[in-house]
Symmetry: C2
Amino acid sequence: MTSQVTGSLAFLLSKLGQAAAERFADRLAPLGLRPRHCAVLQLLEAAPLGQLALARTIGVTPSVVVDMLDELEGVGAVRRVRDTADRRRQLAEITEEGRELSRSAAEVASQVDAELLGGLTPDQKRALRQALTTVATAHDLLPHG
Amino acid sequence: MTSQVTGSLAFLLSKLGQAAAERFADRLAPLGLRPRHCAVLQLLEAAPLGQLALARTIGVTPSVVVDMLDELEGVGAVRRVRDTADRRRQLAEITEEGRELSRSAAEVASQVDAELLGGLTPDQKRALRQALTTVATAHDLLPHG
């Protein structure tokens, strides 16, 4: 009964995760977006947010948030505005262009899902989603919406 | 009905895949191994192989194979030997130490599986394995054993 590394779920997950990430990044690139931008845009669709709040919610350092906002500002998806409640604070606000990009990114993600998982039955897709969501939640890997 | 990037299976897979890969790499490091070494050791457990055959089977370039074999030789897991059928050719051969390392790596992979997927029922684990294997096979992501 020798188990093998390549038969482990960790191995399968890392191979598939890498394939999914690369494919998604490739498809997003023409939009001027990177995968890590998507969660930021999604959050800002609900309301403008400060950098610290964004960092906490996404689970990255504030300096990474600054980089991401610079990049998003560069493609016109985000603008920095003064917080009306506290004029010393800056908030990141999504633009109309940003909302459009976020919608396009969601379409790209759906396409990648369809391409990657085309070989699965609807039941298998449901089971896969349920299992992955359970594991991701248990390990605190999802943005805290 | 706005779907979101973070709700896509591609997003979930990439997050979990990254977490699985990082955890596995961390646990392997004390053995002097990297994740990419494991498939090589597994293949060499069956028989000595030439660099081109290894490259083809794992799906990497020959120069990556050379690097991996250098690293594996460095930890005493592999030795290069002359092919008795063709003295100009070199084969990579696993050592006793290499077999031991490969067993340890498989144990590490099992531990990581247990840690990552502890929240799933046996049925969920089976469904997850089946779905991931189907997708990985469809996209030719597994070593050609």
